[in-house]
Symmetry: C2
Subunit: 507 residues, 2 copies
């Protein structure tokens, strides 16, 4: 076949073929696992559960807020029951759309409807790569993973600490970790809701780097966090404390039940979804009691366990169905939704790829707005892999290309072009081809399309080996995004002052 020389295109930043950073919008109809009737059955069952059993809110202030707003508090306990009317009335004030602002306005994201965005992995205790092996989380790897997040256009936002920097002291870790996040990237970021101080520090850092006042920040959300329930039916006190700070400041909280079917939730998919829905709605109702209109997201994390061992399994068919069904539930309430790109694999191998693909397709089909853990997740979230980070970038870029609606007009239909070529010829040098070939197809970042002999001559590198070369080169080519000197100084001063003041309590 003929070779067509290729000009380098779409390669900013760095020298890799990348599509530009873009706000994605899913142009296709959402997929449905359950009929509308069955979604209604899940909805009703979850409201029944909140009414009859309720949830434990392990923070007296939260219980007091809920009681004051009309929920039923069992005296002397933290058990809160909610009538169906209370839940529906409260969640009605949650916004269906909002933006998550980044310090670089080009990286601000819209959430809601059919928007889509992918974040870097959050909260892994370990990190690994093919050169240095597996090790505990540390600040240096944390920073490198931020650099990759900045370099990859499909990493739309920072999802949390890609790996826990355990070499930083607990009380001031969040200050240094967040400072690194906002210096090494100019994308939207995440603060941990581990008590109110950490959350407020994250909000103040967002305000500083965006160069706005608190009032502007309160109508332009610039920090997001996740509040997991301790399934079944418990919200932890420290997380609620952080959630209160976020709601009051108008920042985004994602209420994500940790409903592993067969372990912390019923073994049936419908049952696990009933519990997930009850817990998510309870959290969202709570947020609206704190501050009506505060931006929230419906969190979907339902998966199943391996019934032989009790270990969680991710990227399974059950996970895919739960994710898509969760999209149906979130649309039922007109709420933005997050899910995840996950795998149980212990290596960045074929299993990691196919379990992540199950996740990514489910997220696309379910119209998931925020795909958390989009890049780097391995070992059920216990390890971030540099190679998996690159594998995920490629898979997300493919999904992004899938989401572009094909051209459709007379030129695209190409009847004249086919007639000009005619039978028993080819299209390589057809003017129709020559005018379009540079941008006609998705250009791979990682995939190798060489024939076997050329691939063998080049060293027979499998995809994982090639991924190692890519992240190494990407780190070499990384450039820190500019930060105005006065903002940089204000940031340094805030971190220094807060650190000297002792940071936040170790919880």
């Amino acid at each position: 076949m003929r070779r067509i020389s290729r000009r380098k295109t779409r390669t900013q930043p760095g020298s890799f073929p990348q599509q530009p950073f873009q706000q994605l919008d899913n142009p296709f109809a959402p997929f449905e696992i359950f009929s509308a009737d069955h979604i209604e059955a899940i909805h009703n069952a979850s409201l029944q559960l909140l009414q009859e059993t309720g949830m434990d809110f392990q923070l007296d202030e939260a219980v007091e807020i809920l009681g004051r707003n009309g929920a039923h508090v069992t005296p002397g306990s933290q058990r809160v029951r909610m009538d169906a009317d209370f839940v529906m009335e409260k969640i009605a004030t949650a916004p269906s759309h909002y933006s998550l602002h980044a310090r670089n306005p080009k990286h601000t994201l819209r959430f809601g409807g059919s928007s889509m965005a992918y974040s870097s992995i959050a909260s892994a205790p370990n990190v690994s790569d093919a050169i240095h092996g597996r090790r505990s989380g540390n600040f240096e790897d944390y920073k490198n993973l931020l650099r990759l997040t900045q370099s990859l256009n499909v990493a739309h936002f920072v999802g949390g600490y890609a790996v826990e920097p355990i070499d930083l002291p607990v009380q001031t870790r969040h200050l240094h970790a967040l400072e690194a996040a906002v210096r090494l990237t100019d994308k939207a970021f995440f603060g941990y809701a581990i008590g109110r101080t950490r959350m407020e520090d994250a909000i103040e850092i967002a305000r500083i780097v965006r160069g706005v006042d608190r009032e502007t920040l309160s109508i332009e959300p610039s920090v997001h966090t996740v509040v997991n329930s301790n399934s079944p039916l418990v919200y932890d006190g420290a997380l609620l404390d952080g959630a209160i700070a976020m709601a009051r400041a108008g920042q985004i909280v994602i209420y994500t039940p940790f409903t592993l079917a067969g372990a912390m939730a019923p073994v049936t998919l419908a049952g696990a979804l009933v519990q997930q829905n009850a817990e998510a709605l309870a959290g969202i109702a709570f947020s609206q009691c704190v501050n009506p209109g505060a931006p929230v997201m419906y969190g979907s994390f339902t998966s199943n366990v391996d019934m032989r061992s009790g270990s969680p399994a991710f990227g399974t068919p059950e996970f895919a169905k739960a994710t898509i069904a969760s999209g149906q539930l979130a649309r039922r309430y007109n709420l933005p939704i997050r899910a995840s790109n996950v795998t149980s694999s212990n290596a960045p191998d074929a299993q990691a790829a196919y379990e992540s693909q199950m996740s990514l397709w489910a997220c696309m089909l379910g119209h998931i707005n925020a795909v958390n853990h989009g890049l780097g997740w391995q070992e059920g979230g216990l390890c971030t892999s540099y190679e998996k980070f690159i594998l995920d970038a490629e898979m997300i870029q493919m999904m992004q290309a899938f989401l572009s609606v094909p051209e459709m007009d007379e030129d695209a239909l190409a009847v004249e072009a086919i007639q000009a070529v005619g039978p028993a010829s080819h299209f390589f040098q057809s003017p129709h081809t020559m005018a379009r070939y540079e941008s006609a197809f998705n250009a791979p970042l990682l995939s190798n399309w060489q024939n076997f002999e050329n691939w063998q001559d080049a060293g027979s590198q499998d995809a994982t080996t090639r991924a190692t070369g890519i992240w190494q080169q990407m780190l070499n080519e990384y450039e820190e995004p500019a930060l105005a000197p006065e903002i940089s100084e204000e940031l340094s001063a805030f971190v220094a002052k807060s650190s000297e003041a002792g940071g936040a309590p170790a919880l």
Copy 2:
């Protein structure tokens, strides 16, 4: 977490966790890439192309048949033009549903509507595995791949020669290859349409092993073949010769244009689909001229090339969209459709997994009835990999589990079970869990869900390495399916007699 001991379930045949062999039916709504208007635009453009430009049918008998039935033949040439009315009238007699009969009736498959089935790879010239490396196709590997096809319940039918047995003489290769296919498996099989003799021998072998007469065979299709067009706009003479034999005998022909966008078809997706649709409809119209009502399938194989090298690329976002759009076109004509599970990767690695996943999701979403090359495809079809065979089996089993509609009733909603467990507990020993855990979730064939430490202690095997162990054990445990002695004798006699008579000409 607590351990729940697991009784061995669903493990027939062999000792691997497998779902039973089953006729799949897609319970979900088909996905749509194009609006109905745009599908109509593709339809109209393809009819315009057949009317104005036509196709070359490189067999005088085929040209004569088409001319006699009302197509326009350019005198002195093999160029055939078809009016829109001619095409629509002819394809209207093609059946929307039919069965492909296997010698074991339990393995007979239904095609049409929302049915789904996956076949083993066909026609690779090379074969590879992690133990013996890569080599040319040969009869021993051919037979081993049949044994795996028989052993894996998700391999619904034999898609062709999983690897070309080039050590068998060309003239009699089909006789020995087909004999092996029907002895080593009792699943439905494939004959090659390389001239009429080979096709007729395949049909006779089907008749013998099914123990029926020709008349029964003609209403119970028991052989299938693929007729590719030489895109653009050519049908090869030898294939048409085989296609005539198949249509007359009432056997299944899949007309599959080889429309690689940017090479043998326009660089635009819409244009490539216009050409695919024209070529497929022309083939199907031809089949109905030969024998109205003969079973046919719409073939989708549209993908794109790498514009840097001209090499074909498979499992791309463009391939996925083309596959789903082809499903829309086939439904427009009420015809069964085939597509493929494909990758360009040169190794059974993460790229192979994610490109195959792109293919498998597209096939599921597009309501593809026959997923050809379902198991084993690597290197753009130039090599069959034993490890990829197992990877694909796992991925197909996951897709099969995805296709089961979740239970939905009061028990499944599990409100009472959640209430009985209550907040801050777990479901491991809940009666609701205990009654259901054995069959609640898909059990993996290949995926490893151990934690990192246990996985490391067991040798840190990645998915590809584990696949090697699985195919080896599967071959060790293989048992040849029974064949009645009188049928076995008749089969041997037919092969011996036909071989002595010289087999079929080398084309």
